[in-house]
């Protein structure tokens, strides 16, 4: 197996994708297919990878560093680099709902409840997410119901700043992934999110949408998502049904 498989996983120097990114992708995929016993062993050493892929050690380290930042591996001086152990399962409210539910082996669903435009953000949003005066402005609004295997899981209100997405219209909100659309048309991707999570009781409207009782305990998440260049991408309020667990995986401390 080895030689043949490895040949296909070579770094393309002509590609516009940096070599360290290509290597990181290769390693990430290899790690994903490891058995539990193999995960306990060290990855090939930096020198080994350097030789195998014909890259300098600096480039190899850059690839490993990016995997470490993602929380996929850790390095121990004198010992080597090792895959980390995934510690929680479940759905995160932070990444793409659709792809995450699907990766979890379940069927995601989305129903658009309402779309529109607004001159600014509602007061609750500016308060919860401490939006500064100058940061407000025209928004595109989107209200969706999220489902897993047909069961309503959350009511989501999203506000997208018109300034960042000039030609975006409510008509663009189709079946496809919203994030994919925004990445394709404007080349913008979410990189970070800040959130506030609080307990609350279901209002009559929410109870109707989520098919639960009024006053049932729900979880409310207020999020602001920014790009790598710290531009606000969207602001979201999500209301999750009781019994649903929000997953916060690989959160960096310190």
């Amino acid at each position: 197996m080895t030689t043949d498989t490895r040949e296909r996983l070579a770094i393309r120097r002509s590609s516009s994708v940096p070599a360290y990114n290509q290597l990181a992708d290769i390693l990430e995929q290899q790690i994903a297919t490891l058995t539990d016993e193999e995960r306990a062993r060290a990855l090939p050493s930096e020198g080994e990878l350097s030789r195998q892929y014909g890259l300098s050690r600096i480039t190899v380290r850059q690839a490993l560093k990016s995997l470490e930042t993602k929380g996929l591996v850790y390095s121990a001086q004198g010992r080597g680099s090792f895959p980390t152990v995934p510690r929680v399962k479940g759905i995160s409210g932070f990444h793409s709902f659709t792809s995450e539910v699907r990766r979890n082996g379940q069927e995601p669903g989305t129903r658009i409840l309402e779309t529109g435009e607004a001159a600014g953000l509602p007061a609750v949003v500016t308060e919860k997410l401490s939006v500064a005066e100058g940061e407000d402005g025209p928004q595109v609004h989107l209200r969706r119901l999220r489902l897993i295997d047909g069961v309503p899981i959350a009511v989501e209100d999203a506000w997208l700043p018109r300034a960042l997405f000039p030609n975006l219209t409510p008509a663009d909100f189709g079946d496809g992934s919203l994030y994919s659309l925004l990445a394709d048309r404007w080349g913008l991707e979410p990189a970070w999110t800040d959130a506030l999570i609080e307990p609350d009781r279901a209002s009559s409207e929410v109870s109707r949408l989520l098919d639960i009782e009024i006053d049932d305990p729900v979880l409310v998440a207020w999020r602001v998502t920014v790009t790598a260049e710290d531009k606000v991408f969207e602001r979201v309020r999500s209301i999750y049904r009781p019994g649903f667990s929000l997953r916060v995986a690989r959160y960096r401390l310190g």
Copy 2:
């Protein structure tokens, strides 16, 4: 001011602290004292910093990269590096409760409710945090009530693996910061955390401790914290009172 101040903030090459860490600390502190207008401007360029501190560009980049990983700055090719904008306020359930409440300008309090030892983790914990068979083992248990300005905020159950903290006894749980103790005695620090957050109703016991009504909506957080080398540091269940917002700041996506 300039010359004098900058002289004191020099990199000590004899120190055991790496130069890039020293520079990162200097920059982090400088950023913290910037006015809003100054925060909109770029930091000194890599070449500038390189000259100012007598470091190679690689070392400067390493410092900037670590600040970027923390979410404090971002870099834009062709333009420079810039401080990011803090987007949410509040208390995080993930870092040191004491220091975070204090930084927020409030007075933290902790009351130890119960300490003890156990042969293993309770079933709820192993289930929620999907603990593997071999990963269980003797634990030191600690139950605390957390307060802010005298108001009870959360009931926290923490389980620390005996294997990682050999000589730890319930008697060690004093007034001081638990994290500081663990760092001093065993040289271990939390680096990552995985969490599940879910809504629930207050039980009679919780309602008594938090001084709320039975069935009030509360927020339950299940967390497992690991060191940089992916060793389980502690597992915690926290139950937060209604009205309290859990902050998840600078969570990396993608």
